[in-house]
């Protein structure tokens, strides 16, 4: 495993839509173990899905599960940004909006404006 590379950053520095590979996990005890158990192991692919409206918990996709972490918890996860895999590019690249899918845009336009930064 690449233990230390120059571009290793905490998970929180990524924006919704980004993808990254887990490099290392800080923290300790029950919390770290829970993250390991959920699949935040070295090499795993994480995608940032969305920030909660008040910016704090953040929704991530790990494996095929969506998991929420608080900012101060996600900071313990060190990652290396990678290109977003093709198969999820469309659905994630804009952080949850679906530009090309007209048929799903029910309701007024303002409802479909940016949901997260």
């Amino acid at each position: 495993m690449t233990a230390k590379t120059p571009c290793t950053v905490p998970l929180t520095s990524l924006a919704p839509g980004d993808a990254a590979q887990v490099v290392n996990l800080n923290g300790k005890g029950a919390f770290r173990r829970r993250l390991l158990d959920l699949g935040f192991v070295a090499g795993a692919l994480v995608r940032v899905i969305k920030h909660a409206p008040l910016q704090n918990p953040i929704e991530y996709c790990i494996g095929s599960a969506h998991v929420t972490l608080r900012r101060e918890e996600a900071e313990h996860i060190l990652v290396q940004q990678v290109p977003v895999p093709d198969w999820c590019r469309e659905s994630v690249a804009d952080g949850g909006r679906h530009r090309n899918r007209k048929r799903h845009r029910w309701g007024p336009r303002w409802l479909h404006r940016r949901t997260s930064r």
Binding site: D37, G39, A44, P57, H104
Partner: protein, 719 residues
């Protein structure tokens, strides 16, 4: 029971699995409503048992708590693994969410290491296959050495196949059980074999646990297992030493630590296995969920929608719930009245009418609330919305040291603390659950409102609305402060990270919702009803005894005399005398004596002894405070003798209640120990120790705050 020669006709099976893997729907499909719900011994983690028969086997199935792993870090995981090791179920069914197979198999691997006879249940198979993915179940079964059966739990598909597999596994046990241990790389494997050998040499140390599993747990630094080996024994200390040295060695060799290396090893093993058996369509199964989330957790729309849901839930629970509550109330009143009229007047009839029927009434009156609230909560949970609500609210609740999911119980607390405390079950961590339970009673429940209306109306006239509003606000402020205080002191050692899964949105099934609602209602009636009833009878006794026989007799005589006269004035006199008799009765009862006894304690708050008595009777239910005051001030709750209302009686300068003291009294009613039913609910959800703590801290808090308000107010000259 271990592998016996003849197949036992009684089977004990356990369901294990991740949260949100559909374990509950499998359990419900197997057992229907034939379930027993209780707690695991010593902890307030729920234990569900079910019974059914299949192919001539009497099967008892246990639903283990949903876990991701089998560590010593959480109560749920400890409960699960202790059960598996100590109770040795004949078969363990691991319910796997087929759409998230890698993470689910992570638990499978650990279950196999624990040496249980395992069946892997690939649940939600329909969702999985409609995505176009394929999984070679037979091949996976060979790789893992455990049968793999696909099911669709909520539609009951595949349950029979699953049970057939159970029976088959039991009947052909010997040849089925051949699990190949997974390898964790050279550094770990060498140490594991060394430790396993050492452990096998002293089997008395490890009891029922498999040696290799113990060795793994030692390397992971598992506290419980270390404790198991911390004995005054040469072998044990040698094993611990070896484990410690190995931990250091692995740390240096891998620039990591064993816990991480082992987790990575498990995931690596699973990844390798899945490469052989899984062809996953590269689609995102959360696609639809994400579209829904673009509305439900929308930056601006998220909160209004959430508040609308909660408002609807609140209105359904307490407004719509009030209708059947009215019927129950009327029925209990009618029953009491009828019995009082038919039974000869005696102590027994008083016990039956006031004690027992009153007590039963106070238990079942909450049933509509509980049923509606839990139907609603089950809907929010089963649909997947509850986790989104927590996602939205976590930022706010975290500031109070709570979890996002604490919001709904706290809000329900404004209606009634009892269902609110029962609703803390939605919180996974025991810390959050206990903390929320302790704070819920500070939310001013609807039963306290009559007290505020009475006192506010009597002393603050037009400004009564403001006074009541301040009281509600004070409750919220107290909750925030107390929450922060407890979170940073009592619950400091156990920080609960907000690692929460957002499951895909799913359509809840009517069966699932009804079973959940029925379960909660039954718990309430069975486990809490008896205690509440007993407590109500005891309180009735304390209010009715000792009877002041001499005095009541002379009063009764007088009443009879006046009734004989029959004039309007005489009837007026009768009412007055009856009010006197009631007041004397409660004054001389144990409760009345207690109220007078505590007068020195409540005097610094500006309270009279009558108020003290009413606070004690308020343990039955907060609205009883009003009726007690009514009796003690010789009026009814609304209007009494000589046309004087209770409001006027309270305001009477002769009674020496200042507006300041009245306000302090309202604050006291807000903050002090809630009613018996709530206390029983706290005991059920948090345990007896926390129940006493809750009683004590609320009494202390109420006294201190009321004292502060009254004394400072007097100093400033408000009195």
């Amino acid at each position: 029971m271990g592998p016996t020669m003849a197949a036992p006709k009684n089977l004990k099976i356990a369901l294990a699995g991740n949260p949100n893997s559909g374990k509950t729907s499998i359990f419900n499909s197997m057992t229907g409503a034939r379930q027993q719900v209780g707690n695991w011994p010593g902890v307030t983690v729920e234990k569900k048992l079910g019974f059914f028969t299949h192919k001539g086997y009497e099967i008892e199935v246990v639903d283990l708590p949903g876990t991701y792993s089998l560590t010593a870090y959480s109560v749920e995981e400890r409960v699960a693994r202790t059960y598996l090791v100590d109770e040795k179920p004949d078969v363990v069914i691991h319910v796997v969410d087929a759409g998230n197979v890698a993470r689910n198999l992570y638990l499978t691997v650990q279950l196999l290491e624990l040496g249980v006879d395992l069946i892997v249940d690939m649940n939600m198979w329909d969702e999985f296959t409609t995505c176009g993915s394929e999984l070679d179940c037979d091949r996976l079964a060979t790789l893992f050495g455990a049968p793999v059966v696909p099911t669709v739990g909520h539609r009951g598909i595949g349950i029979d196949d699953l049970l057939d597999a159970v029976v088959k596994l039991v009947e052909e046990r010997a040849e089925q059980h051949r699990h190949v241990p997974i390898t964790y790389g050279p550094h770990v494997d060498d140490v594991l074999s060394e430790l396993t050998e050492l452990l096998e040499e002293s089997p008395e140390l490890i009891g029922n646990y498999p040696a290799r599993w113990i060795a793994i747990k030692l390397l992971e630094g598992d506290i419980e297992i270390r404790k198991l080996l911390s004995k005054d024994d040469d072998n044990a200390s040698r094993i611990l030493d070896t484990a410690e040295r190995a931990t250091r060695h692995i740390g240096i060799a891998t620039k990591s630590d064993p816990e991480k290396v082992i987790s990575e090893g498990r995931y690596g093993y699973i990844e390798g296995a899945l490469k052989e058996v899984l062809t996953e369509e590269p689609t995102d199964r959360m696609e639809l969920s994400r579209r829904l989330d673009s509305v439900f957790t929308h930056r601006y729309l998220g909160y209004p929608i959430f508040l609308a849901f909660v408002w609807i839930l609140f209105q359904l629970t307490f407004r719509v719930g009030a209708i059947p509550m009215g019927w129950i109330d009327a029925f209990v009143g009618w029953l009491g009245g009828t019995l009082a009229a038919t039974l000869p007047e005696s102590q027994i009839s008083s016990l039956v009418v006031d004690g027992v029927i009153g007590g039963v009434g106070s238990v079942i009156i909450f049933l509509p609330n509980i049923m509606i609230l839990f139907l609603g909560i089950a809907f929010l949970e089963d649909s997947g919305y509850m986790s989104r609500a927590a996602f939205l609210m976590d930022r706010v609740m975290h500031a109070l040291g709570l979890h996002g999911k604490s919001f709904i119980p706290l809000l329900m607390g404004f209606g009634c603390s009892v269902p609110a405390i029962m609703a803390t079950r939605t919180l996974e961590s025991r810390r959050d659950r206990t903390l929320t339970t302790l704070i819920v009673p500070l939310m001013s429940c609807s039963a306290r409102l009559p007290v505020y209306l009475l006192i506010g109306g009597a002393f603050f006239a037009e400004r009564a609305g403001t006074a009541v509003f301040i009281i509600y606000l004070l409750g919220i402020v107290a909750a925030i402060l107390i929450g922060r205080l407890f979170a940073s002191t009592l619950f400091r050692s156990a920080p609960a990270p907000f690692v929460m899964e957002l499951p895909p949105y799913r359509r809840p099934t009517a069966k699932g919702l009804l079973i959940h609602t029925w379960e909660r209602s039954r718990i309430y009636l069975q486990k809490m009803g008896g205690v509440i009833l007993a407590a109500s009878v005891v309180l009735w006794f304390l209010g009715a005894y000792p009877q002041n026989a001499g005095l009541t007799e002379s009063l009764e005589q007088e009443i009879a005399e006046q009734q004989a006269i029959g004039s309007v004035a005489a009837l007026e006199k009768v009412r007055e005398l009856e009010a006197d008799a009631a007041a004397i009765q409660i004054e001389s009862s144990y409760i009345g004596r207690a109220g007078q006894f505590i007068e020195p304690v409540i005097e610094p708050l500006g309270f009279r002894w009558e108020m003290g008595v009413s606070l004690i009777t308020g343990f039955v239910a907060k609205e009883v405070v009003v009726s007690t005051l009514g009796v003690l001030y010789h009026t009814g709750a609304e209007e009494g003798v000589s046309g004087r209302t209770l409001v006027e009686a309270l305001r009477d300068p002769a009674n020496e209640i200042t507006p300041l003291a009245a306000f302090a009294f309202m604050v006291f009613v807000l903050l002090y120990t809630p009613c018996i039913v709530t206390i029983v609910a706290i005991r059920r959800e948090a345990g007896t120790g926390w129940m006493w703590f809750s009683i004590a801290y609320q009494l202390a808090l109420a006294w201190l705050v009321s004292f502060g308000i009254y004394q400072v107010g007097t100093l400033v000259g408000l009195g």
